[in-house]
């Protein structure tokens, strides 16, 4: 119960498909979403493969809550190997595509192989088919989605790639419902390498829970007591743009390629400004928080811009013009580009230009070239052919290695680690390179009551956050509901019909985190890769709360050793056999 009981495999090489019974043992150990997706992925895929080869897979996985009325359960987990970082890559996407897969009768869809020519796949309940996508290839995500809905019917949910994915850009994302992305690490390029333009889903089967009366009672209580409270309702009133002012006040708003943590132009890109152009609020399926802001500004409309876009493509590029950020955002969504990595590479090019290292023809705050870059990157034209390869590649080619803001090849999101030392560890030990969604210690450090400028206690804090998020993204509850572990256990019990404890969830979180780590270790990652760019350790911020403070590398390394020890990993960051056995990982 809580599960559809089937997993669909689509082989693009042969154009065939098959279904398998859901592996119930794995579902018990990994629950769903991230955990189960990762388990399926690592069980079938060698860590050494080239991410853009036909041997790579994309695992789309729902969780036991998908399709139910449980709030914030509408997301879908996507797992593959990242062409940007070479690590395992798990991303989430909102909207309705996840629940639709469940309504079609599947817990997950696994895409394998490579088509000879561009195709799109259609999953209409039990009917699965693969069709030529010649007329869609070369088009943006928006055209693609709207054309497919015209062709197949309004009811179909679409997840597609734009030109960036087709051209194998390692910062290409998947887009669904025009403005929702599985953003990071280049999953769009993996679709592109498989010549899969889009996946369309319609599901007309009901989703069942073991005891509907009990389920509705639990969800109703949690909604009142834990969800629709002042702890979470910022999502409804503002959404993520609220973080612009919060981060700026705390001195951790990435500014001009992480040269500062305070942006003098923050007032024109903060939440009040976004609210002033907001048309309406939008929610994912079954979400009561509705963080989405549908805005209209100048000629552009977008659902967004989210904090990460405002930070990385706003302050980090020295751009304080909200209209420009919105247009950049809309362009990236259509081309199928991750705004975090795209914003980062633009900021890096701006700094290289300003420092005279290489002339990319743009400086901080230059709007005109900034708005041209997404198109150039997606088509790999002009400067776009270099910038498309990401910050690490550009640094290796032109210089600026010490201020190339990436970890394992994935560009850093919107929280400056010098103003939240634990966040540095979270970036360094994230399972997919610099990511803010594995642990979020900034909540306690920058915005909370913990001292941000110490490494004391941060290893345990980060580990706790990594386990919490790992299991949360496996049951699939959205990040934005700060639900307690106990209440997650109540939800999991109500959905699966077996008694699930918070201890069991905690342990599953640890199991999932070790499973992704093991894949990365087997792909060759060790301690040396668990680090941060030199800028973080060698330069200080000029303004704000963290101004003038150094983040000593020795302290970071000591914290990293403590982190490994607490995890039961050796000094190189390799999980020990005892730990793996304890967690039932093979």
């Amino acid at each position: 119960m809580g599960y559809a009981g089937k997993v669909l495999f689509i082989d693009l090489t042969s154009g065939t498909h098959r279904t398998e019974e859901l592996n119930r043992t794995w579902a018990q150990l990994y629950f769903g979403g991230k955990g189960l997706g990762v388990k399926y992925f690592v069980s079938m895929t060698a860590p050494s493969i080239d991410a853009l080869s036909p041997e790579n897979r994309v695992v789309l996985m729902t969780g036991p809550l998908a399709g139910t009325i449980a709030p914030c359960s509408g997301r879908l987990s996507v797992t593959t190997k990242s062409p940007a970082s070479g690590t395992i890559l798990e991303c989430g996407v909102g909207g309705t595509v996840g629940p639709e897969i469940k309504f079609a009768g599947y817990d997950g869809i696994i895409i394998e192989g490579r088509a000879n020519d561009p195709v799109y796949a259609v999953v209409d309940d039990d009917k699965v088919s693969v069709h030529p996508a010649g007329d869609l290839w070369g088009r943006g995500c928006h055209d693609t989605e709207l054309m497919l809905k015209d062709r197949l019917g309004e009811e179909f949910r679409v997840i597609s790639i734009g030109q960036a994915g087709e051209n194998l850009v390692p910062m290409a994302c998947l887009t669904s419902e025009l403005y929702r992305q599985a953003g990071r690490g280049g999953v769009g390029a993996v679709f592109g390498s498989k010549r899969l333009k889009a996946l369309c889903i319609r599901g007309r089967k009901p989703v069942r829970v073991p005891d509907m009366t009990e389920f509705m009672k639990v969800v109703g209580e949690l909604m009142r007591e834990d969800c629709l409270t002042d702890t979470n309702l910022w999502a409804r009133t503002d959404g993520t743009p609220l973080l612009v002012e919060a981060s700026n006040s705390a001195g951790i708003l990435p500014t001009k390629n992480f040269q500062d943590g305070v942006f003098e132009g923050f007032k024109t890109i903060n939440s009040e400004s976004v609210r002033s152009v907001r048309q309406r609020k939008n929610a994912c399926f079954a979400c009561t928080l509705a963080c989405g802001n549908y805005v209209r500004s100048g000629g552009a409309v977008v659902e967004g811009p989210e904090y990460e876009t405002l930070a990385l493509a706003g302050s980090n590029c020295g751009i304080s013009d909200l209209d420009a950020v919105i247009r950049f955002n809309a362009a990236c969504d259509d081309l199928g580009l991750d705004t975090i990595s795209t914003g980062n590479v633009v900021a890096f090019a701006m700094e290289l230009t300003e420092r005279g290292i290489h002339d990319f023809g743009m400086r901080f705050g230059d709007i005109r070239p900034y708005l041209e870059v997404p198109g150039l990157i997606a088509r790999r034209e002009g400067i776009g052919s270099d910038l498309a390869q990401g910050v690490r590649y550009v640094a290796e080619k032109y210089g600026g290695r010490n201020f190339a803001m990436e970890v394992k090849g994935l560009e850093i999101p919107g929280y400056e680690p010098r103003g939240a030392w634990g966040m540095g560890l979270a970036y360094a030990t994230s399972d997919r390179g610099a990511c803010h969604m594995r642990a979020w210690p900034v909540a306690d450090e920058a915005y909370g009551t913990l001292d941000p400028f110490t490494t004391e206690g941060k290893a345990a804090l980060v580990i706790g956050g990594q386990h919490y998020n790992a299991i949360k993204f496996s049951l699939i509850v959205c990040d934005f509901w700060a639900i307690s572990m106990e209440n997650m256990a109540r939800l999991a019990s109500a959905a699966t019909g077996r008694h699930v404890t918070s201890e069991e969830l905690e342990r599953a979180g640890e199991r999932i985190y070790n499973t992704t780590r093991l894949f990365n270790v087997r792909a060759g990652f060790r301690r040396a890769a668990d680090t941060l760019p030199d800028r973080i350790f060698k330069e200080t911020l000029k303004t704000g709360r963290a101004a003038g403070r150094t983040y000593p590398k020795e302290e970071f390394e000591r914290m990293l050793s403590e982190y490994y020890a607490l995890r039961g990993w050796d000094e190189e960051g390799v999980p020990t056999p005892t730990k793996l056995e304890e967690l039932e990982i093979s």
Binding site: E154, E177, K281, C284
Partner: protein
């Protein structure tokens, strides 16, 4: 009366899930007796809502008088002949037929509609 305010709705579909849970004990937007549809184009996003407004058309067209209007439509399934006329005629398009073809019609849950109760946006309201 059940009232839908499209400007407030953010499209979560909790109303439809609450309906199918209440009436059938499953979650299925497509089996719910109201419809909320998020339409988007490149320049706009809107939410269309279709709920029973007790217009009485179903009762009017029912050839065997299985449907009576009492606050909302009430159907006597024993009388229903599965002809499907009411579903065809419903201006909101929200009357469904079960596996036997018998009509399923919104009855406002007897005056305390689950859909409005679960709406987190105050977009769907039961106004007496």
């Amino acid at each position: 009366m059940l009232k839908f305010y499209g400007d407030k709705c953010f499209g979560c579909q909790a109303c439809q899930l609450a309906c199918s849970a209440e009436k059938l004990g499953v979650f299925s937007p497509r089996l719910s007796l109201l419809k909320v549809s998020v339409r988007f184009s490149k320049t706009d996003r809107s939410v269309l809502g279709f709920v029973c407004n007790a217009c009485g058309r179903c009762a009017d067209v029912c050839p065997v008088e299985a449907i009576v209007m009492r606050c909302g439509p009430k159907i006597d399934s024993d009388l229903c002949t599965s002809c499907g006329l009411c579903a065809e005629e419903c201006p909101q398009g929200i009357i469904l037929q079960d596996e036997e073809g018998k009509a399923r019609i919104c009855d406002f849950c007897g005056g305390s509609p689950a859909c409005a109760g679960w709406c987190p946006a105050e977009a769907l309201r039961w106004e007496v």
